[in-house]
Structure formats: C-alpha cells, structure tokens
C-alpha cells in the first residue's frame, strides 16, 4: 500500500500587513507571513530549525490592539489581525536593539545581513561612550550586585577567547545571548544539555556547570551550537586560527554539497573550502534528515580528506 503524505490541512485566516489584506494558513507566525510576502524583517535569535526563542526582540512589529510591540517570530496569526512593520515605533525599537547590542558586544563577525541592518536602521553605538576595558572573570560577578558606574565608559562583555579543546572556541565577547546554542544543545536538536544560561541580568552568560572547561562538561562536540551561532561567538578552531593569522578568505570560499560517508543515515554536508582546504562543514537547515544539525563525525571528521602526501 502506498501512503501519500498530504501534510496537515489548515484553515486560512485573513490578516492585514501594512495595509494589504492576505489569506494565510492558520498556525503560521507573523514572520512566516512577512517572509512569504518578501517583507524583510531582521532576526537574530530566530532560526528555521529551532523553535522560536523570542529573546533578541529585533523582529518586533506592531499589532493593532496590542499596547506593546509583538515578536513576529513567535506570535501566530489570528483571523483579522492587523500588522504594521513600517512604523516609527517599529523602526525605533529595531534600531535600539541593534545599537544596544553593538555597544556591548563585538558584532564584527555577524552576517552581512546584520551589518547591513545596522547601517539601514542608523545604529550609533558610539553615543554610549568608549567601551570599558575587557574583564578576565565576568562569570565571577555576584548575582544582583554591581559597582555603580560613573558613566565615563560603556559596560560591555569584552573578555578573552576560551580555547580549551581541539575542535571549537568560545569567544563570548561576541555573544549576544540569543540562547540558540542552548536550544541546539538541548531540546531542539542534540539533547546533551552541556550548556545553559547562568548568572543574571547584564552578567547573564552561557556556561557549562561551574563555568568549567568544555572537556569537563557533557559536551559531545557535535558542533550544532556553532551551526546556529549568529555572531561568530562559537566557531571551529580551524576558522579561529585562520582569522587570527589573517588568512580567513570568505570571499574566496566555495561550497560543495555531498553526503556524509561515516554512517548510513545520509546527512547532507556542505563543505566550505578556502584556498584548497576544507575550513568548515555545515548542513542545510531545510534538509529533511539533518534539519541543519550534524554529529561530531560529520562536522569535524574531514581531516583525513586533506591528509595528502606533501607534493
């Protein structure tokens, strides 16, 4: 017998987006509708392969009847919903979220889209003053306490890069606390639960138990946290070393799609190649087998391909 998968049959509801009336499937998020309509909406903590996290607050839109703005990534459409994306209130909030992040986090390695949004929304991180110097032990701050600032410098999360294993680095000076890595390590993909948010407020940070080193934690080095990190806070040691040496050449990168040969699951791999050598391995988030997530072998087990005899 052949089974035909029809998918779930959903009712259509009517929503109005920036004055246009649309019929959209019930259960879609506002962001789904905006993407479908080609309305560009900045996102940071959203990813196609994770449940909405709703922490960064950059995708906010106005919904009629709501006093405050609404996160488009998480809010599902209701029949008769009236959404506005082009208001001053929306633009202001998006600009400020990007500006507050840029003033406290190193955003240099965020995607080209993020860089473009910061220009388009008119972000001026410099107006909060010069950045405060890096701190070695941000994790040691006592919860609910801080030293009163004098306002001469802007507090930020600058700190040394954590390199404690051979596969990836944790550069928390670039962490915007989007929680994507926590979700990928936990219930959205890996179910390893090696990391969690720890601390509170501006001192909140991503940590293993007791802020320990990765090899002492439950980490299985699947690298799915790297796969979802939007700002380069988590990256492979290979990429980190190339960047440090000034040999990182994204403009010369080619991507080759293949299938992982380690086991029979059939995960699609995308080999990112720079100057004749593999620098990273990813998987497409819309792939039906991986949903963008891999295991340690698929993501890091490529060295043997490159162990060519010296010419």
């Amino acid at each position: 017998m052949t089974t035909v998968l029809l998918g779930s049959i959903s009712r259509l509801v009517t929503v109005t987006v920036d004055g246009r009336e649309l019929r959209v499937p019930e259960g879609a998020t506002i962001l789904d509708v905006l993407r479908e309509q080609g309305v560009e909406t900045p996102t940071l903590c959203w990813a196609p392969n994770l449940t909405p996290i709703n922490a960064c607050r950059v995708c906010m839109v106005e919904v009629e009847g709501s006093r405050v703005l609404v996160p488009s990534c998480a809010r599902k459409v209701d029949d008769g919903m009236v959404v506005r994306t082009d208001t001053e209130k929306v633009r202001h909030s998006r600009r400020m979220v990007l500006e507050l992040l840029a003033s406290s986090v190193d955003m240099d390695q965020a995607s080209e889209d993020v860089q473009r949004w910061m220009v388009e929304y008119g972000v001026e991180p410099g107006r909060y003053g010069p950045p405060a110097p890096p701190e070695d032990d941000r994790a040691g701050h006592r919860v609910g306490h801080h030293h009163a600032p004098d306002g001469s410098t802007a507090a930020n999360v600058a700190q040394p890069v954590k390199v404690d294993n051979d596969l990836y680095v944790r550069d928390y000076a670039r962490c915007i606390l989007c929680y994507k890595c926590v979700k990928a390590c936990g219930t959205d993909a890996q179910f390893t639960f090696a990391i969690s948010a720890a601390g509170r407020g501006f001192d909140a940070h991503i940590a293993t138990e007791y802020d320990g080193e990765l090899p002492d934690s439950a980490c299985v080095y699947c690298g799915n946290c790297i796969g979802v990190c939007p700002t380069g806070a988590l990256k492979s040691v290979r990429e980190h070393e190339l960047r440090e040496a000034g040999d990182w050449r994204p403009e010369k990168e080619t991507v080759t799609t293949t299938i992982c040969s380690f086991c029979g699951v059939g995960c699609n791999l995308e080999l990112h190649v720079q100057q004749g050598s593999i620098v990273n391995v990813t998987s497409p988030s819309d792939h039906s087998v991986t949903h963008g997530h891999l295991c340690i072998k698929g993501r890091f087990g490529f060295q043997h391909v490159q162990n060519l005899p010296e010419a």
Binding site: L69, A148, G151, S196, A197, R200, A218
Partner: protein, 611 residues
C-alpha cells in the same frame, strides 16, 4: 535523559539536606531511590525538576553555600543536567556557588532604608566583619528592598543551620547582639528575634480600628492560633462559598469588580472564570507572595499577622476555579511570614481545612509553600511559574496566558496576596455591596505602604478614592517640607506637592500618567537625596533584570550610565535624548513588565524637573 555527571561528591550534610528536600516534595507515584537517569524515563525524570529550588534552599540552609559536590548530587537525584542546575543556582541572589560565610547579613540600602541610616549600619559592619562579602563566620552584603520599610533601616540574617531572621530597625548594636546570640546560643524553632515583631501597631498603626476590612484581624488575632482565627470570623467566608457553589462565587467576585492588586489591575472575576471553564486538567492556583517592589510591605504584614486569612482565601479560590493544589510562592527574604504561613498550613491541614475533604465539604484542596531566593523578577507571573518548575526565573512569552497554559502547562490562576484577602469581604457582604465602596474599576478598600518622611510609617487601609493628601495626613503628616512622593514603587512615578489632591484610584492615577502599582507611597522631603534615590532605582533594575531580552538587559545598564553622567554634570541635551530613546525601546519591546516599567520613575523625575 542521559546525564554526564562529574566525580564531585557531596558531604554527608549536603546529601542529607538534598535527600530530605527530595523526600518532602516527591510526588506520591515517584518511587524513592528509583534511578530515572536513562533516555526514555520521560515524565518520571522530568516530573522531578520542580524540587530543584527547594533542594537548593535545603543545601543553603544546611551548609551556607553550594559546592560542586552538592550540585552534582542534586543533578543525579533530580535527573536535571548539571549545567541547568548551575544556571538555576546562579540566578538567585540568596544562593552562592562560591564559599561564603555561613551567616550573611543582607543590609537593605534601597529607597526607604538609605535615607534612614543604612550606610551607617554598613560602615559598622565593615568595621566588624570586613569588606562586603568577606568574613569567615559572618559577612554582610548589600540588598535591594527587604520589605520592612516601616521599620527602616532593615537587615535580614541568612543563617546556615538555623532559621533566618529579620532585624528592623537595624542598628550596628542590634546586629552585633544578634550575631553574638547566633554564635553562642542553640537555635530554637521560633527565633528570639521574632519577638521584635510582636507589636503589630508598628506595622499597622490603624490596627484594631473598627472600620478596617482587610486589616481587621491584624494585631487582633493570634497569628499562630486557628481557634482564635475562627473566633474572629475565620472560615465564615469559606462556609459561605461552599453554600453558594463555585459559579456563584465567581459571579460575586465579578460583581464586586475586584481588580488584581499586584500592579496590573486585571479583573479577578475574568481570570477565575477563564480557568474555571478551561477544559484541560488539573487546574492550579498560585498565590504570588513574592512581594519585592521597593517600598512595598503590605503583603508581608498581612501574612505575618493574619496568615490563616490567606490560607482561607486560597482555599476559596481553589474551590471556585477547580484547583486541587495551590502553590504559595513567598519571598525568600520574608522569614517570619514564611514561618507563620508554614505553621498555618500545617495547622489548617491538621484541622481538616486542607486535604482530601476540606471542612467536610467534599472537595480536595491543599497548599504547598515555595520560597523564592532573591529575585524581583520572580514576582512577574510567568517568571514565577518557571521558578516553581525549577527553571531560571525568566518570564515567558505571552500568549499563551497562564489561564490557558500556566504552571506545568496547565490552566493556572495567579493572584497577588492582597487580591486574595479581598475575596473574604466580597463573600462576607456580597459582590454588589463590596462594589459600593469606591467606583469604576477601583472598588473596595486599598492597602498603601506609606514610608519615608512621614510621622507614622506603616500599612494603611483606605477606601479607593481617598486623596493622597488625606493618606499622608493619616500617616501622621509629612516630616519637614515635602519635595515629592514616589507613588507605585520603582516601577511607578513621582507626584509633586501640588498634586496631593490626586484621588487614589486606578483611573485617577492613570489620568496624571502615574500608577498605584503595588501601593507604595514614599514621601521624600527637601533633605532627601533625590538623585541618589533615582540612581538606586536605576541600579535596582539593572541588578534585577533577568537578562533574557536585549532592551532590558542592556537598556537598564545604559540608563544607569546616562543617569551617572547627568549627576556628574554632563550636558543635559544628549543625555535626555538617550534616556528617552532607551525608555521607548524598553517600554515597547521588552518581554515583561519589569523591562517595560524600568524607565518609568526616571522618566517621571525628568518630566517633573526633579533632576
């Protein structure tokens, strides 16, 4: 769940503390000692996570800080990943994951205590014990408002191996005496320090007056005696509720136009009706007793002096909305209220007022008390739910609202303490009669926490519609020359001396762009350091932000920095623009009420030219 645990082992004391907490909170179908650390243990493993917060408390109470061995043991027993245990443990200000003295003096330096001499207390403690957080046997730390503003300045002693106590008014002498007693005397079930709270009129100057409704039993009944409670009208409202039936009870509450007293002023009848009708079971009741708004102490006073009132009101709420279990989440810094409530719950249970057949009326209802651990954000209703469930106290995205998906994903009624006490008079006189006092959405009486530069600080009960001037006069008038009144707390705003005719109603305060909030009325005279007050409020929000969303996490930091520059004499123009930009993104885009109201007081002060 396949946990990877470290090799750290707990000490015998830590193991005993965790095991006792586990035994006390385990659900009946959870087999003692059953190891559920395997991948498909499902509900058996996940169902234990809510024990995490009580178990962390148990270790803190026994040892004074959280060692890797204790956290590892907790992770093993509860089947919670060690990283998650650490994430939860580092969320709360009363917990310490680094070694700390077993006796910690939390000294309030917040808006009411700072002008009352908190810094002198701190100077004395620094001399005795050393710098903040240092000291071997005892140490001191600064604390946000401890909710003892009528007795400012206040301190709370968090003590390993014996019950915590509050000391207020705190002077270096009284603290020395208390620390001395701790060092030399054996602990008793009821600590000697509680005796300082025996006189209710210090907290409620109106105590005993005949016109009181919510406060009528304060200072009149013995808070430790259920018989005395019954002799003063106790459990009459429950009897009436059972006679009416659940639907009529909800109708009376709706007819009374009772609105939530926690700050959001949501109609209680609508909330109850929503949960009562929710098809999903079980239903849960949660009493939000995590009173932490700076300047607020009304709920504490009610719980300390009339604990059975809250137990009865929760029972009625549970009966009306179909809940068999109620969680009472009481602020961690309220040791006396916690003791009184624990005693009241145990006594009510022993007398058949809680349990499988409440008062012989055939319905089931019981209450479990949970202690907060030093996090203002856990007063936000969805953060509170996460806290009970053993997660970090981070607010949830709404919708879904708790009435459809709340505690453990089930329909949940969440009410503030004062709101629940109001249910008793609603049933005593009927909803329509109750609504005759006040008007509009502001019906009945309201408790105000009057502190600062007034003759007699304390909790005052007045009819809605009383003016701010009348309230201040009731509290013995302003000492000195009034500069401003902080109305509604850190999340509220200021009222100038020319605005004292303000009628204290939800509508009246909204009209002038203020809020009654949690009922804070903090009087500041011309001697008060207003700039210092504002900076303390800004620092408070920075400390208490959960850190989840960007507008609040970074916005509260930038707000405090801008305020610091302004007080140092930086040019006003750019700073005011900055503060306005920050305020708008915090109000419009924060996840919860904390971020949305974090700029309120600063904006209000700037608008009124107080800075």
């Amino acid at each position: 769940m396949d946990l990877r645990l470290s090799t750290a082992e707990p000490t015998e004391a830590e193991r005993r503390a965790v095991d006792a907490a586990f035994a006390a909170h385990r659900s009946p179908d959870d087999v003692p000692g059953a190891d559920v650390r395997f991948p498909d243990s499902g509900h058996a493993a996940r169902g234990r996570r809510h024990i995490l917060l009580p178990a962390l408390h148990a270790v803190m109470d026994a040892v004074g800080h959280l060692t890797p061995g204790a956290l590892n043991h907790l992770a093993r027993v509860l089947s919670v990943p060690p990283a998650d245990v650490y994430g939860v443990a580092t969320f709360y200000a009363m917990f310490s994951v680094t070694p700390r003295a077993p006796h910690v003096v939390h000294v309030c330096d917040d808006v009411a205590c700072a002008p009352a001499g908190a810094e002198a207390v701190i100077a004395g403690l620094t001399e005795d014990l050393g710098e903040e957080g240092e000291g071997k046997e005892a140490c001191w730390v600064r604390s946000p408002c401890l909710g003892l503003c009528e007795r400012a300045p206040a301190a709370m002693l968090q003590l390993a191996g014996r019950p915590d106590v509050s000391v207020a008014p705190a002077a270096i002498g009284s603290l020395r005496a208390e620390l001395d007693r701790i060092a030399t005397e054996e602990p008793t079930r009821v600590p000697a320090a509680d005796a300082a709270f025996a006189d209710a009129t210090v907290s409620v100057p109106q105590a005993g007056q005949p016109q009181l409704t919510l406060l009528r039993r304060v200072g009149v009944v013995d808070p430790e005696s259920i018989d005395d409670y019954r002799a003063h009208g106790g459990y009459e409202a429950l009897r009436r509720a059972v006679a009416l039936g659940p639907e009529r009870v909800i109708r009376e509450v709706s007819d009374a136009s009772l609105t939530g007293r926690g700050g959001a002023a949501f109609p209680t009848g609508v909330k109850w009706d929503g949960v009562a009708r929710a098809p999903s079971r079980p239903h849960y009741l949660v009493c939000n007793a995590d009173e932490s708004e700076p300047g607020t102490f009304k709920d504490r006073v009610l719980m300390e002096y009339d604990p059975f009132g809250l137990i009865e009101a929760m029972t009625i709420a549970g009966y009306a909305t179909g809940c068999e279990r109620g969680y009472l989440y009481v602020r961690g810094e309220y040791p006396l209220a916690t003791r009184r409530l624990e005693h009241a719950i145990a006594t009510a249970r022993a007398h058949g007022y809680l349990g499988d057949d409440v008062a012989g009326d055939g319905f089931t209802f019981d209450i479990e008390l949970r202690r907060g651990a030093g996090a203002y954000i856990c007063g936000e209703e969805t953060a509170l739910l996460n806290s009970i469930e053993g997660h970090r106290g981070e607010p949830r995205n709404k919708p879904p609202f708790p009435s459809t998906s709340g505690l453990f994903g089930k329909p949940t009624v969440i009410n503030n303490v004062e709101t629940l006490y109001n249910v008793l008079p609603v049933l005593a006189v009927g909803g329509e009669e109750f609504a005759k006092v006040g008007g509009g959405r502001s019906t009945g009486t309201k408790l105000f926490c009057v502190s600062g530069a007034v003759g007699t600080p304390g909790v005052y009960e007045v009819d809605f519609g009383t003016t701010l001037r009348e309230l201040l006069e009731l509290a013995g008038g302003v000492r000195g020359e009034l500069r401003a009144v902080l109305l509604g707390g850190a999340a509220g705003g200021f009222v100038l001396p020319d605005g004292l005719e303000l009628p204290l109603t939800l509508e009246g305060s909204r009209e002038i762009g203020a809020t009654l909030g949690s009922g804070v009325v903090l009087a500041l005279d011309t001697q008060a350091d207003l700039t210092g007050t504002l900076r303390r409020i800004a620092a408070f929000f920075r400390d208490e932000s959960c850190g989840q969303c960007v507008p609040c996490r970074v916005g509260t930091v930038r707000q405090e920095e801008a305020l610091a520059r302004l007080t140092r004499g930086a040019p006003k123009g750019p700073e005011l623009t900055l503060l306005d930009d920050l305020a708008r993104v915090m109000q419009d885009a924060s996840i919860c009420g904390l971020g949305q109201t974090a700029p309120a007081a600063v904006l209000s002060a700037l608008k009124l030219g107080l800075l």
